[in-house]
Symmetry: C2
Subunit: 356 residues, 2 copies
């Protein structure tokens, strides 16, 4: 097969450790399936601030733009939390999304059998939960004009939430297409009883819906969705929503699975280009100790194979290997019941690689 290029951004905290295991998996799939990859590392986030004076250096952006996909570990940490806005890892995150045109964030929320009990929800409520939040990622209040001004009530801050029809259309089409490949149910979440952007959102969804007659559509208000996720999580299939609501709801959905340490995510642009990363953060408290769980990052590679490269066989093999290793009782410290028997980050990576 053609050689594909992956930009690898290890980032901060446990990022480098988990990404190293994911690269092990990439190598292993080259051997087993005959695929061919080149990887190029780039600085991003806190480490880029320290070494280059900016969270998103130009070189990093060109490495990513010249690649077919990006694998990201994690960024951020207390060290940079009090920096000015331009020198914060989050600013790099928003910048890379915008610059790479990653308008769609896919956040699958699934239950891992071995982590069922880790959820704070009752098992009978959780049973069968398998949903995907499709979050718009380059629009809305995140990217609208922001400023301060003097007003009658003292200093005033302003954020602007803007959506145009084209932005809504592309994410909604994608969500319908994803739903068609799943259980064919789509919940579109908005606040159409208050927001103008939500009214445009809902109109656009309703205009597009007839093109997907096989998908059952419901409109859910965001406050109600926050409740229904708790009350009937298994009834959701695909949820599509704007940037800010998606930020909140995708984290709520991830947490209720109890599997947040194991969840992968994809941020997609036009075509098959995507950035893949674990949902968990940089966990600076356990960084550098070989304690981190690499599974979410390894599963992000599987998502990359499936969504960017169409390498279904390798994607399936990775997911099967993870399931097998977990079924055999192997655990990293975060998910181990008996912590004394916990594997290190590299031991877990080795076992999964061997199982492929």
């Amino acid at each position: 097969a053609e050689t594909k290029k992956i930009a690898v951004i290890a980032g901060d905290g446990i990022g480098p450790e988990v990404v190293a295991e994911a690269e092990k998996i990439i190598k292993r799939t080259e051997e087993v399936f005959g695929y061919s990859f080149t990887t190029e590392h780039a600085l991003f986030g806190g480490i880029a601030i320290d070494e280059k004076g900016t969270p998103l250096p130009e070189e990093t952006l060109s490495v990513c733009k010249s690649a077919d996909a990006v694998l990201l570990g994690a960024v951020g940490g207390p060290k940079w939390d009090n920096n000015s806005k331009e020198l914060r890892p989050e600013t790099g995150l928003l910048g890379i999304r915008k610059e790479l045109g990653l308008f769609s964030n896919l956040r699958p929320a699934v239950i891992f059998d071995c982590l069922k009990d880790a959820s704070t929800l009752k098992p009978e409520v959780l049973e069968g939960t398998d949903l995907m939040v499709v979050r718009e990622l380059t629009g809305g209040i995140y990217f609208g004009e922001k400023f301060r001004r003097e007003g009658a009530g003292g200093e005033e801050a302003v954020d602007t939430c803007v959506y145009n029809t084209a932005e809504i259309e592309r994410i909604v089409h994608q969500a319908f297409e994803i739903a068609q490949k799943r259980r064919k149910k789509l919940a579109s979440v908005d606040k159409a009883n208050v927001l103008e952007t939500s009214r445009l959102w809902r109109e656009t969804v309703n205009r597009i819906a007839p093109e997907y007659p096989d998908v059952e559509l419901e409109h859910v208000l965001v406050d109600n969705c926050a409740m229904q996720l708790l009350r009937r999580p298994s009834s959701f299939d695909v949820i599509v929503t704007e940037n800010m609501f998606g930020d909140i709801l995708s984290d709520e959905a991830a947490m209720l699975t109890g599997s947040i340490g194991m969840l992968a995510s994809a941020s997609m642009g036009e075509g098959a280009f995507g950035l893949y990363e674990p949902v968990h953060g940089s966990a600076p408290d356990i960084a550098g100790q070989g304690l981190a769980n690499p599974i979410a990052t390894i599963l992000s590679v599987a998502l990359m194979y499936r969504l960017t490269f169409g390498y279904e066989d390798a994607a399936d093999a990775i997911e099967r290997a993870v399931a097998e290793v977990l079924d055999a009782g192997h655990r990293t410290a975060d998910i181990a019941v008996d912590k004394s028997k916990a594997l290190s980050t590299t031991e877990m990576g080795d076992l999964i690689a061997a199982a492929i």
Copy 2:
């Protein structure tokens, strides 16, 4: 005691039924405690649209303004859902908040023993949960400028989120004061890593905090808060946040208690003026059948006595009476295990009145 005036807005759906029971309780406390009230009824919401052509008639506003407090049942229903914006019940709700200056929405989320099992959370996680969301109610993206315009990507919709220092100060002071009377913990929720309004919010909270040295303050990002409410609900005491985040988080918090049908809420203005209403909606599907549970509305009266009138004795008596009736095993259909033994709305109201 001086005669106090309560504006009574029955509203739509089950509103009239539950409000009738709350009025029974008001009368009962007049007899028992010697308090004196006059009540004046006013049209609002769907019924006002039908009868007056607007969800918030001028007369209703003057009735409310001339009163010391407002008791509201519920508004809205499918009948008005497809109306144009000016003819929708929600528009009346936003209007009454703004016109009466109700800048602070207090949403206590507590567990009722008899409803513990109704929660989808595990009992050991829920144990000890007793929190209050203090939501800013007259600012932010709800009330900022909204419009459509033509842009490069077709039609474009805009919502504006605005907060000034004075608006943030008054709600934050109130939240700190409430925390002082409770367990002395305050979580301020924002998205300061992205939004300018959130940065002003956080700066303002930090400037005010030294005035309340006995209150332990934490800043929580809204996405993280949506997760932490699920993971450690009992660790929260008071949560203060802006309008849109408060809409989502207060509903999430209410739902996780499992007691959403029993929760009261208060919307406060300057001074002691307040509007009190159950958290549940107008439930048009069961309206007019005597099936509705009046307890949330009755508890809203207790909240009114406490917060507007300072009638602690009567507030305590109402809350004790509710607990007693529930402890004795009496249930309306929504909370009954054996539905065949369920009480009607008026039977429940009578029992609680008698227990005062």
